[in-house]
């Protein structure tokens, strides 16, 4: 069964995109077929995966607003033969307004992906949805389409403060629109072992979510933030740096969790 994982947190800049593209790339190098759906109008995931997404390139906007099928719009990522991307271009910024009057507007992505998964051979093993830093219609579509949620939490105070709001919103979507939705994993990101703040936040998160928090913690690593400027994931750009190795570990843990979910 294809696992559809939404990477979500309404707090900005916590590592949603960096997590989605690097875990996807790590799984692809292990032989799994992986699709990343870019649902953020900034198109950062499309950039990191090296796919075209300038104005006019069809992608997630066309799926959400025009009802286009996913399959024909999926692009191969040059990163790896098992890695694919449904890109986001600048028109996605207008999607939430354009979708307001659509019927069942929260379920558009869910039904488009159900069709895509049924019709695609060989099977897609993982779909990651990179969502924007908000709780609007794009993120709701991502949560309704997902079988599980991966929540990156930056090791900073504000990021900790926002977790309660995020959990409440996921519960709301679960109750109203997607009963099988669950937070399957929490990933601590941008951990800086030189500061007490990082350690304090990491300890708090592990205390409150002992089961869900992945053992792997992603350290702060400049190679992770350099990779997108070359149109690559860190897994390809510099596979041996501390950030890439941590994402490799996180990917393995996430894949293993699937057996028990």
């Amino acid at each position: 069964k294809t696992r559809i994982i939404t990477v979500s947190n309404q707090k900005g800049g916590v590592g949603k995109t960096t997590t989605a593209v690097n875990i996807a790339a790590a799984l692809a190098t292990k032989g799994l077929r992986v699709l990343v759906i870019d649902l953020d109008p900034q198109g950062n995931a499309s950039t990191a995966l090296g796919v075209e997404h300038h104005n006019g390139v069809p992608g997630s906007y066309e799926v959400l607003v025009d009802g286009s099928a996913v399959g024909p719009l999926v692009q191969q990522s040059p990163e790896h033969k098992n890695l694919f991307c449904l890109p986001a271009s600048i028109n996605l910024a207008g999607a939430e307004i354009d979708m307001v009057s659509a019927s069942e507007r929260e379920k558009v992505l869910a039904s488009a992906l159900a069709t895509y998964v049924d019709q695609t051979a060989p099977r897609i093993d993982f779909i990651f949805i990179d969502s924007p830093p908000s709780l609007g219609l794009l993120t709701v579509n991502a949560l309704v389409a997902a079988t599980e949620v991966l929540v990156p939490i930056q090791c900073e105070y504000y990021a900790l403060e926002g977790v309660t709001q995020l959990i409440a919103n996921i519960e709301r979507v679960k109750k109203a629109l997607n009963p099988s939705l669950d937070i399957s994993s929490i990933l601590l990101t941008m951990f800086d072992n030189r500061t007490n703040l990082s350690t304090d936040v990491a300890n708090e998160v592990r205390k409150y979510f002992p089961e869900k928090t992945l053992a792997a913690t992603i350290p702060r690593s400049v190679r992770l933030s350099e990779a997108p400027s070359y149109g690559q994931t860190a897994i390809t750009f510099d596979p041996k740096n501390s950030g890439s190795l941590a994402y490799q570990e996180a990917a393995i843990e996430l894949a293993q969790r699937g057996d028990h979910v």
Copy 2:
């Protein structure tokens, strides 16, 4: 004339809140009367300014959706006698949906602030509006209410990529809703002098926006991110650290710019 400055960038985690609260606090310590409007449902600015904003405390939601006056909802910040805050509580997350059918929904904050400024004595010198990482109705309200925009840009690759989209959106609001709106200043944030990436991004931004980019650059400093966990701005928490000193400089430069705007 009261300067109304919206701190805006749809890229998440670039330092919007940290910039709004620390520049506001720096100006307050220099004798200016400053109001911070928290327009982000995460309520991070309210936390940093030490004001109550749990569920039920009236604030920016009531102004935007119920048409409440600003004055009675403004709270004194314990940080400084010249510093005030219109808080955001969790109900603000529903504001964009609740406002969709309101008439002139983009101008609600602008007219509420015009009344507040007229009726408040002694005069308020600066109003900073901390906006969320998106380009929805909350951010549009902030851009329409503003006399100028302050854009924080994190010294990272993705932050650079998003600038074109931001400029295009500000132009759109200027043309349709607020002809006097202009980007008065750009502030480079989280500059890490140990990495080439930071230097490259900073040089790019200064090259493209030589006039608008403030001379002051905010360095990465853990004291800036620790302060909110004590419910304080860094200006109060640790006035002599590199981050606070840089924000003091930026505040002076911003205040001086006003004479020529």
